[in-house]
Each structure stands twice: as structure tokens, then as C-alpha cells.
Subunit: 341 residues, 2 copies
């Protein structure tokens, strides 16, 4: 029996990547139910060689659905995820709406697959920057607990959605032609610029993205005392995020030992060649499943070798969103394909 | 009597900015002696409304010169800076050749002008990323000594020279047209990408740029014990560097106190508006003299409020190079204009 898979927000950047990942990972025979707003309904998509038409999301959309991937923003998830779960679907929610709810597991399958298995109908897919950081640091944390992370991000346009990716291109053409760049999907000019992530700023001065990285990493790692200070910056890159991480461990951790642990870690690819230099870059991470990790070196600002600096790049749409969501479904056996994690 | 000012490397990106800064700051009447390689010699420049022809740099070039700005790379500085100094010129060297020599002051006029006055003929202009960081942190350090800095940079193409700036533009056009970007001035594709700064990597895993930031900040601050771990990343921006700095002080430092200190600091402009958000961006810093500082917030990963996070942007060619060099000349009274620092 093929699975019945609903995708809420099928026409967005993550939705499109979900279709691609599902087909690449052997789900082309599944019955796909793409769902969207009244505006998107009627759009035609291709899946497994078949033409599939986007249906309008309603309370009745989830009858008989095995797995429902949500990627249509917080408000849609808040309203429809419980409805889908009550209808018997396993919800894998890419929005931030329910991630910090105590009864909603927040899962990166390489790290905490058991949390997924303890779900009550809804599983949250973490924030893209948090996933990429967590995949890279977990293999180190599990043998030598991390006490503190200072991370600065280099985030791609894709994190702001498909329209932002297109707008980056339009802005770049405008700047090159001597025209002022227009901002509709993006809050500020991104072409040939960088800017502080525009999520709302809390009373502590951290924006939403920075707060998510901290809170979500702690939840995924089951490490409530892990101290994290993030600075989130948007850069003119299309679809892979990069991060500069400064990490303090409980015990000394040599770069050689870290490299050894990372080389055998699932979902990680060490790219750390000094001569000729070859390190993680977003154009290399784009379209790939693994998080690229390199520039692994002792933090010379700390005594006793308890700190490391690392630089990483990971595809925001794949491991940062769609791939991780599909892996969650796989590790539950919620879709008819062998679990791969 | 107008000053006689030599510029070695007058046709480069920093050289061109030196001409602009000198004219803007009242030196249009100086006698300008642009110097370059045999290849550049003969090129015509405009200065103070006059046409000036680039001469070939020789050992005799500095007779009667008051101030010689060097911006033609380490090898040229190593060979010709001592010759210029012996000829009686005050050398202000933008290369890294002599910065760490004990008898060569390394100067940011807002910070250590007295060091400049103790020169023995040669004064070094610091690395661009180091200058921008130092200007932003000195007003805090002088009242509450900084113990540790973790900094990640977002560095513009201009730091790799004029050809790199042009190549970024060409690469962007190629990518937008679906052509593979070509790399000649830049080591790797920069358009729609970021990459680890390509300066040579030392045995500790830090590249030359990262090592300069650490060593030079310590020298400028007279703080040999200041711990600094830098990660230097090139981003597709034309001419202003940005930096994400995580700073640990000796005593607690509130964001409000930091803002207050920075607001009255010379060379700094606080851009730290939460709603609507307005923070430092390279396109705002480009062409400006001040270093923009914002995202000033307590480092929540440290106890007791001893840490701050900040984000800054500064023009790499102006304060990061040409402006700082001219300010050094001004604070020495080495050129005929009032000191401005």
C-alpha cells in the first residue's frame, strides 16, 4: 500500500524541496496530497511522473492521510496541525508554532530519533540554522558535553522563502544596472549587502532567529543548561546557510579528535583542507544532504584547549527543512520506505 | 608651503581612496607625487583639479617628500619604506610588512596617537578588520578592560584589491546569466557565496587575517594579554567589512552603558534601533568615515553580565585603510592641515 502524504504549503520553497526529497528517497509511488490556500489551490505540480493538483486546505483535508508535512507558516500550523493529528495523520511541522511545546518532540533524526517515536501526533522540525548547527556539534557534544556556544550565522535568502530568493536575483540585476534595489519579500537590500536577521527582537535584545537557535538546540540535545549566544545575519546567498561557531567543551577537545568524530558522524562531511585551502562554502553545500564542517581549530582565546572554532555550511532547504522532515517520517516508519537513520 | 605627499601604489583601490580622502580633508593644494611600478608609471590621475602623472618608484623617489603613504604590498614596503624614511619622509605604511616590528608604531589615531608621535620614520597602518574592530571596542576597553574577543567577520571584496571588486561584479553578472563565474583576482567564486579568507594558514589553524586581527589589536590597545579568536570570512559585498563580536570584559558592562560610551566616542556611530529595525549594514557604511555599531546586547551565554555581543560595519577602504592613514599624518602635524583627532 503506498503512503498517503499531505503537504501543506506545497508551492513554497520548502514545499517544492519536500516533493524533490520524497521522490529522491523512494516515495514516488506515494499518494501525494498537496494543499494550499484558496489562492494556491488549482496549481498543478508534478510528482512521480504524475500531475497533481493543489487542493484547498480545509478541516476535512486530512482524512486517511498517513503523514502531513506542514510548511505554510505558524498560523496555519497552529490551526490545522491539531486537526490533522486528530484525523490520524502524523504531523511533521516545519513552522516554529509548536516547537517549544513540552508534548511536541523537536527532532533531528541523527540526534534524537527516540523523541520522535514518543510523539502524540505532532512532531516539530527545528529551525534551519539550529538543525545545521546541531548536526555538526552533536557528534562532539555526545562524547564531551558542550557548555557554551557563540555562533554567528551567514544565512541565505531561502530562509525567507521563495519570493526572497527571486528578489535577491532581481536586486542583484538592479544594482548591477545602477538601479536602486526594490524590497518586497526581503525587508532590506540583500544584494551586495548583509543585514541583521529581521525577526522581532525580544526584551533581551536577541531576535527570534537567535532565540530559536538557543532554545531549540537545548531541547534537541536535552541540555537545558547549555549556554548559547547567537548573532543571525542574512547574506546574499541563495540557499545554504553558513555558521561560524565558537564552542566550549567540558574537557579539552583537540581539533584532531573533533575531525575524527565528525568524519564518522552521520549527516556530516568534513571539508577542512589547509593547502590548497578547501573549506565549507554555501555553493558547495547547496543541493547536498550533508552539513559541511571545517576550519576546525583550537580556540586560542581559551586556556587548556577546551574550545574549538568551526565553520559550517548546510543546505537550508534540504537538511535545514525538507530533508530533515522526511527523515523524521522515515525514522517513524510512518511512510512506506526503509528507515535510513 | 604646501606639503609634498608621495603615494606608492596610487592606482590601487586604497591609493585611489587616499587621493579622495586627501582632497576631502583639505590637502588639495599639496604637491602630490604618485608612484608605482614601471607598469603603472605614466598613468594620469587628477588631484586638486590638476593632472598628475604616476612616476616610477625608485630609490630616488623620496627626496624632499614630507609624507609617503605606502599601499603597494609587503614586498614594496619592505624594500622602499626604509629608503623613504632615510630620505627624511615620514612613511605611513598600509602593508602588513612592518606592523609587528617593535620600533614601528601601529596606530589608530582615536586610540593611540602618542604611539605615532614616537615614530622613528615609519608608522604602520593596521589591518582593515583590526582597525574597524579596535575603533568600536576601544571606548569600552578603556573604561572596563576587555579580556577576550570572539569575532567573526563578513569581509568585502575591496580587501582583496580593486581587481577583486571588479571581479565580484563580473562574477555576479555571469551567475545571473547562467555562466560559471571566473576567478582570477579572487581565489574562489564570491558572487552569491561566502568563503574562508584565503590568507595562508599557520600551524595553529588560523589564517593570516585572523592572526593579524589578534596580534594587531593587542599592539594597538597595549594589551598583550587580550585573548582573541577570529574567524575571517569573505562575503559578496563591495567595500565595507562587517564583524560580529562577542566581548568579555573584566567587570559587568550593560548594553546601556556601552551605548552611552560609544555614542560619545570619536569615529563611531551607534546604529542600534530595535523597532523599526535599523542596524549596521555594509551598504550604509560604504563611503562613510565612521564605524557603525549596533546589536549591542548582553551576552546571554555568560554569567554576571560581563559579556556583550555587537555587530559593526566600517568602510574597508576609508577607515580601514586610507582615512586612518591620513589621520595618522594629521595627528603628527606631518601635513599642513590642522590635526583633527
Amino acid at each position: 500500500m503506498p503512503s498517503r502524504i499531505a503537504i501543506v504549503g506545497a508551492t513554497g520553497a520548502v514545499g517544492a524541496e519536500l516533493l524533490a526529497v520524497l521522490q529522491q528517497r523512494g516515495f514516488a509511488d506515494a499518494e501525494l496530497i498537496p494543499l494550499g490556500s484558496a489562492r494556491s489551490a488549482g496549481a498543478a505540480l508534478e510528482f512521480g511522473g504524475r500531475r497533481v493538483v493543489v487542493g484547498e486546505l480545509t478541516e476535512a483535508s486530512f482524512d486517511g492521510v498517513d503523514v502531513a508535512f506542514f510548511s505554510a507558516g505558524k498560523d496555519v500550523s497552529r490551526r490545522f496541525a491539531p486537526i490533522a493529528a486528530r484525523a490520524g495523520a502524523i504531523v511533521i511541522d516545519n513552522s516554529s508554532a509548536l516547537r517549544m511545546e513540552p508534548d511536541v518532540p523537536l527532532v533531528v533524526p541523527e540526534i534524537n530519533p527516540d523523541d520522535a517515536r514518543a510523539h502524540r501526533g505532532i512532531i516539530a522540525n527545528p529551525n534551519c540554522s539550529a538543525i545545521i548547527l546541531a548536526v555538526a556539534l552533536w557528534p562532539l557534544h555526545r562524547v564531551n558535553p558542550i557548555r557554551r556556544i557563540v555562533v554567528s550565522t551567514y544565512q541565505a535568502a531561502s530562509g525567507a522563502g521563495r519570493r526572497a530568493m527571486i528578489e535577491l536575483e532581481t536586486q542583484a540585476r538592479d544594482v548591477l544596472a545602477g538601479r536602486p534595489p526594490q524590497c518586497e519579500a526581503l525587508p532590506l537590500p540583500l544584494a551586495f549587502n548583509v543585514f541583521s536577521h529581521d525577526s522581532p527582537i525580544g526584551p533581551d535584545g536577541y531576535n527570534g532567529e537567535e532565540t530559536k537557535i538557543a532554545a531549540e538546540t537545548r531541547k534537541i540535545f536535552h541540555a537545558p543548561g547549555l549556554a548559547i549566544a547567537a548573532t543571525c545575519i542574512r547574506v546574499p546567498v541563495f540557499r545554504a546557510h553558513s555558521e561560524s561557531a565558537n564552542v566550549t567543551f567540558t574537557e579539552p577537545m583537540s581539533p584532531g579528535r573533533a575531525r575524527e568524530l565528525l568524519e564518522k558522524a552521520p549527516g556530516v562531511r568534513v571539508v577542512d583542507q589547509w593547502s590548497p585551502q578547501h573549506f565549507p562554502m554555501p555553493i558547495d553545500a547547496a543541493g547536498r544532504d550533508e552539513v559541511l564542517v571545517g576550519r576546525i581549530r583550537t580556540d586560542i582565546s581559551q586556556p587548556d584547549g577546551v574550545g574549538l572554532n568551526l565553520f559550517l555550511s548546510g543546505d537550508q532547504l534540504r537538511k535545514g527543512a525538507a530533508l530533515n522532515a522526511v527523515q523524521i517520517a522515515e525514522c517513524l516508519g510512518a511512510v512506506n520506505a526503509p528507515a535510513r537513520v
